[in-house]
Symmetry: C2
Subunit: 188 residues, 2 copies
Amino acid sequence: MQLIKDYLKKLAPISEEETDFFFSMMGKKVFKKGSLILTAGKVENHIYFIESGIVRFWIDKDEKEISSAFVFEGSFFSSYPSFLTRKASIWNIQAITPTVLWSISYSNLQQIYKQISVGEKIGRLVAEHLAIMLFYRETSLLRETPEERYLMLFSEHPRFLQSIPLKYLASYIGVTPQALSRIRKRIS
Amino acid sequence: MQLIKDYLKKLAPISEEETDFFFSMMGKKVFKKGSLILTAGKVENHIYFIESGIVRFWIDKDEKEISSAFVFEGSFFSSYPSFLTRKASIWNIQAITPTVLWSISYSNLQQIYKQISVGEKIGRLVAEHLAIMLFYRETSLLRETPEERYLMLFSEHPRFLQSIPLKYLASYIGVTPQALSRIRKRIS
DNA sequence: CGCCGAGTTGAACTGAATCAAGAAACGTGG
DNA sequence: CCACGTTTCTTGATTCAGTTCAACTCGGCG
């Protein structure tokens, strides 16, 4: 819980009571390695905060899976478009390590927006932060080659490379596992 | 101004006085075809609403330009990451037709957040909407081929194809102008 | 009328996809 | 704790879409 407290405090000044109310709206969930948190086709009804573990987003393409994001402890995540629009998610979400999450349901989040004065602001800041990350992701996909993206990950998020299997990383940077294996060889 | 009013009302209930205050924080700006709205390296100090015209975002790659977005009348835009973080923009922004904008400065937006009770909510909804669009953009870049992206534009945003030169569209879908020319030929 | 940028077309090249097979790592049950 | 089987990773050969460099056409505008 301390992680969440720190996260919120970084975003906006928030009182003890408000924090308590926030926590009262959350529930703990534990997932085994490999288990599904959300299946594509279902409506996302939660926003999650990762206490520990790693979460993978992916989307189907023909017979294959394309990983679109990995999220680590200390961050919020959700199948955001589904959560916000209340429509079926096109993304699947999975715990790729043993994972502990704190969830907030859609209706509880609306409660938070109503009851806590800085609620809306926190929501805004989280959405803004997400949008910024997605802008950079788009730029990376448009401007860099797969090899450059791999090197970027290598230098900026070495954690990714250690803790995520190559087969998932490959589609994240936009190539097949075979191609990523060759890129790795080329580099070393 | 009616366009903006409609836009705001769609997002959240907003009173006449609040709308008036909102408008008092905005200033009108007119740009000629081809003129720059923001140069990469500068800090974005405004959010803009397009009354009329088309705006292009692009980013440099080596000697070339990569177009990352086109925005039409009736929408807000900004070099968002720069605007929010107060750091230099990596995107350039340009009017590709004669364009009329309504701008809100960073400090005026903070005023709006302070003074209008639904201000934060509107800010949140705009950011959420943007994030959703960027999620789909990422998915398109990861999952579709350039040809599929072109066909999508063709069916979903025919406006793009009519009003935007091929040389800009090409980098938006992720290929060279030559390749896009061949894709077009292949299709017809 | 001539120029210039946008778009088209051609030819050679290249990085990644695909198909296929072998090597290494992993976890699962005995 | 080892042995087996499955999954992941690697490597090879072929194919293909897109890049690059280059030349040519078209249309608008001074």
